[in-house]
């Protein structure tokens, strides 16, 4: 691994002008593309490209909850499965859940339980599947951002969408939305998810080292970026259903979307 030592010495994450390796400023997001309704079989779906991340999310339900002993007679379960394709990372990942994906699946399930009107669908399950096709750091945030759009696309009643983004610390400075290189050689990473309309934080994780003021700065970056992501999510849904409305119009009178 003499390679890595070499890179660590050479790599400069932020230059003298406050620009990062890909030219971004510290408070800048990578390019993000959100698309709603991309899969046929799923009740709702979305695709997110976020820098080098490519993530699909599908929602099925409300449907019968499995395993059945988990059924709650008073509300729906929200169950998420986060999964990485074996080819999504540089060293092939063994197929199936590992400890990391189990943990991510759990906290994402909990995040969405906070916004879905679960009491409307007792005994059922709303199943969210996040598939990471290509990973470039920030996959859970891209996955949550996609899953929120997929839930809306599936017509699941929710208090609001959920927008997610991470901030961290690179070269001693707080920065928004770390890419893979920055994550590997950075000092901290702090993914969060927020309900934009209410400001409720429904997911928060952190690893690394941040002072209190650095943490405040990171949250300011993330909160602000979440608003921009929220607009992209709504925009994707509008595009999806504007098309449907046009199609209905073209189909002639008496046909409603």
């Amino acid at each position: 691994m003499e390679d890595i030592e070499h890179i660590e010495k050479e790599i400069q994450l932020v230059d003298a002008n406050g620009r990062r390796r890909d030219g971004r400023r510290l408070d800048e997001l990578r390019p993000i593309k959100v698309e709603a309704g991309v899969l046929k079989r799923a009740d709702g779906s979305a695709y997110v490209e976020w820098g080098g991340n490519r993530v699909l999310a599908a929602v099925y339900g409300p449907r019968e909850a499995h395993p059945r002993h988990l059924q709650d007679p008073s509300r729906a379960l929200v169950q998420c499965r986060y999964n990485m394709a074996p080819f999504s990372v540089s060293d092939r990942k063994r197929p199936g859940p590992d400890r990391r994906s189990v943990e991510i699946s759990k906290v994402v399930s909990e995040a969405f339980t906070a916004v879905v009107f679960t009491e409307q669908f007792p005994r059922t399950s709303v199943d969210i599947f996040i598939e990471v096709l290509q990973a470039d750091a920030g996959t859970r945030c891209a996955g949550i951002t996609a899953a929120a759009v997929a839930l809306a696309d599936a017509g699941i009643p929710m208090r609001d969408l959920v927008a997610s983004v991470a901030s961290g610390k690179i070269a001693g400075q707080v920065a928004l939305d770390l890419d893979k290189e920055e994550d590997n050689f950075g000092d901290a990473d702090c993914p969060m998810a927020v309900v934009p309309r209410t400001g409720e934080i429904v997911l928060l994780q952190m690893d690394g080292h941040l002072t209190e003021s650095e943490f405040d700065q990171a949250m300011r970056y993330s909160m602000d970026a979440a608003k921009r992501i929220y607009e992209m999510q709504k925009d994707a849904l509008r595009r999806r259903y504007a098309v449907t409305a046009l199609e209905a119009e073209a189909a002639g009178p008496g046909v409603t979307a």
Binding site: L39, K40, R41, A42, G52, R54, L56, A57, A58, Y60, R63, H66, R81, N83, A85, P86, F87, S88, V89, S90, D91, R92, P95, G96, P97, D127, F129, I130, E131, L133, Q134, A135
Partner: protein, 257 residues
């Protein structure tokens, strides 16, 4: 492949259509669905392809590393094929260890390329008995609308055809994989006494028998797999083979393009 319920009405409808030489989606019995292939879809993989066959959507990634050869083939690279039928792709797919359906899919695709010597495995030897190239083919179903066998097979051949042996692992230049044959799989479904090609989901669900035939660029048969509980007459098998050969030629052009 699924335990999904299909209504008696739909079943009768499809049977009647097929009996009169028609199909629910307007295709002729020997007509395959539109095929689109995006090669090099995943940047974290050494080779990849996203294939859409109608609404069926499959992503195949090839990961390549170096490793030890098997003792009985010290001169030859190693090839492993796995398939994940992730629950994102269909309401009937469940998470958990691979089910027989996924294992059959992976093995049929594997046979299609292994037995045909699609990749010249001897050229994947780096140091005899010590170090060879190891290929992992991972089939990731994204949207299941029938005939995963063919979609996965086209995805695999496409991904192999654009895969690069990573030169950095052996201190050299990237090299294309030594591809020497172009086997193409074509699947037929038998519904009562009629045969249709590239079955859509509803056709697959009510089919009595299924036959997958791999033919190569010389028109020779390289692999076959019969599935489901029904049966074929010998002249039906011959009909499927000759049609698979003819359809395969067009599909091969698309894959090689």
């Amino acid at each position: 492949m699924s335990s999904e319920v299909i209504s008696a009405l739909m079943r009768e409808h499809i049977v009647k259509l097929v009996a009169s030489g028609k199909r629910a989606d307007g295709r002729g019995p020997e007509e395959t669905r539109p095929l689109t292939i995006e090669k090099n879809y995943i940047k974290t993989a050494e080779g990849s392809a996203r294939v859409r066959l109608g609404n069926t959507d499959v992503l195949v990634g090839v990961k390549i590393s170096t490793g030890e050869p098997y003792p009985d083939t010290p001169n030859s690279g190693v090839l492993t094929t796995s398939a994940e039928l992730v629950p994102l792709a269909s309401p009937t797919f469940e998470s958990g260890p691979p089910r027989p359906e996924a294992i059959e899919l992976a093995r049929v695709v594997d046979r299609g390329i292994r037995e045909t010597k699609t990749v010249d495995m001897e050229k994947l030897c780096i140091t005899r008995g010590e170090k060879v190239w190891v290929l992992f083919i991972d089939i990731h179903a994204l949207d299941y609308d029938g005939n995963l066998f063919d979609a996965a097979s086209y995805g695999t051949l496409s991904a192999l055809s654009c895969a690069k042996l990573p030169g950095r692992m052996v201190g050299g230049e990237d090299q294309p994989l030594p591809i020497q044959h172009w086997p193409v799989s074509v699947t037929a479904a038998k519904i009562r006494d009629k045969i249709v090609f590239d079955p859509a989901l509803d056709e697959e669900r009510i089919a009595d028998a299924r036959l997958t035939v791999d033919t190569d660029e010389n028109g020779d048969v390289r692999a076959m797999q019969k599935g489901l509980s029904g049966s074929f007459q010998y002249d039906e098998v011959r009909y499927v083979i000759s049609t698979a050969r003819r359809l395969g030629n067009g599909i091969r052009e698309t894959i090689r393009a």
